[in-house]
Symmetry: C2
Subunit: 365 residues, 2 copies
Amino acid sequence: MDIRDYLDYEPAGRRIEDLDTPVPLIDIGIAERNLKRWQARTDALGLGNRPHIKTHKLAGLARYQRDLGARGITVQKLGEAEVMADAGLSDMLVTFNIVGRSKLERLAALARRTEIMVVADNAAVVEGLGWAGTAAGRDIRVLVECDTGAHRNGVQSPEAAIALARTIDTTPGLAYGGLMTYAKPGTRREAADYLSAARDGASRAGLETKVISSGGSPDMWKDEGLDVLTEYRVGTYIYFDRSLAERHVCSYDDCAVTILATVVSVPTPERALLDAGSKSLTSDLLGMTGYGTVRSLNGATVYDLSEEHGFLDISGSADKPMVGDRLRIVPNHVCPVINLFDRVVVVDGEEVLGAVRVDARGLVQ
Amino acid sequence: MDIRDYLDYEPAGRRIEDLDTPVPLIDIGIAERNLKRWQARTDALGLGNRPHIKTHKLAGLARYQRDLGARGITVQKLGEAEVMADAGLSDMLVTFNIVGRSKLERLAALARRTEIMVVADNAAVVEGLGWAGTAAGRDIRVLVECDTGAHRNGVQSPEAAIALARTIDTTPGLAYGGLMTYAKPGTRREAADYLSAARDGASRAGLETKVISSGGSPDMWKDEGLDVLTEYRVGTYIYFDRSLAERHVCSYDDCAVTILATVVSVPTPERALLDAGSKSLTSDLLGMTGYGTVRSLNGATVYDLSEEHGFLDISGSADKPMVGDRLRIVPNHVCPVINLFDRVVVVDGEEVLGAVRVDARGLVQ
């Protein structure tokens, strides 16, 4: 069971120096270590690990996560679920309200062929899901999405969660499965209070809350508020990125993905231009300054972006880069970066294993 | 010569209401009007129109731009040039330093089969280009990229431009073609002074500056500093977007692209959640507040994003949207949005013409 055997490689040249840029490099040994470390923690806690595949979007790595002990996977949209089902994955949680006739038909088709759980935070969504479950001929399990402070989706109180659980329970084609939240970093204790109140209320109403799911990489190593959870969703933990290194969730040595870029111009001693811009790095800042960092240049940052240009601040670099040099950028936020590329290149240290097609990207919906 | 006939359609449902979301809609009649209006202006000015295809990435629309009178096209990377050459386009300008053995081999292959102009702002790039021209067996025309104030790529003074022009002129495999800049919005007059000084100096050195190229949609309607130019590059003008509407370069009625999204939750009277997040809209702010606007809701803005969630501020909307409603979002910056999708849907008012594959997206390099 070697992670390297889970991927289908296309030829990509033998050496990193031969690769065309810009291109994301996945250091598979680092990813393997990250996955094992987290699986060991959830095993020790007796907590279900349900990794979010939106980060890597690779069916092969989802299979590896499963074989390592994950309880199932998480997807953020139906297109991802379909790709993963085609690749033989099962036991999926879609953490997004599914709305609209066409999507509900697709959900029904998925429910017929794989184990799928969904979420809802309002009665209109529940009604649609009920139609899909009825069409599928089997009850679809639904978790009530709770807004425990992130102010995104979610019912606004434990009482509202209980009420929606009852609606789910009485809707033909559905089964109440439990509770789900995305707790804002630093608020898992408050989330746990909300979730346990909802769970207890549901219990008093005769409803069993089998699954209580929270997620998020920023708080993955913290213990508070885990006691109420049955499952945890993390996505970025496979690769990590600059945002999580800066939050000290990981070290930069844990960052498995870098964008290989070429220096194309050094017009002044303060500035180098790279061939990786917002179409490679995205404009995600996540509260930081700059769009990525180059470790080999003493943490020089990409201080500005055009679509295909990265502006690298080299004012603090004793050894100025030269035109033609290749640099590896640790991106701010790895998930949307992977979504930009049709293929990534998998490396093992300095060895190139091959290019791998990103299965679940560019899906329209 | 109808723009609608330039695209290859795949079936996408008959009505906008039937489309799965999120998906970019291109209103082809608006794009047609935008293209004709700009072509008429450049014709009237006697200015070469060299549209940048990085915005639409569609070979069909590039052909239409050419047939409408464009002098040639602009591309930002070699992968785009290859796709366009495969589709029969010629006379291309690549406005990006081409660096590295593999890319230079690809450039040589392109130069053998199509008319291609490139840029350079340093001697190392010129040396590589010379290798490519020699390998191609024909001189490649090179424009000197000038930093006229945008502080991106470019030589730092007219004197440096003249020196690099001389280097190009004496490099086997190359021909000095002229000057190129991306003038920062509002600085085209200063750019013109720089460019005319470089042109005159090159002339004194016996070098003819046939092409002087600037670009940028923000200043496209302004007249100052155009006199020195022979060509102008615009990309976004085909679709426009929120950033250009807010700068009054266009009206919102000129914005040809909207992202069709579905309301999936209305957890409070202030907030609706859409199924279009940063993986559909990008995080580009371009100095604005919010990530897009919904005209049908009195200009409600997407005030925050997760990867697949858009947070819509509905506090100012008298008619609150409901779960299942479909909204059309005018994106901040249309170019990177198109780059996110494998397919766009082309509409003509309320009629769906079909889905069109985005030819030049997701190219690794």
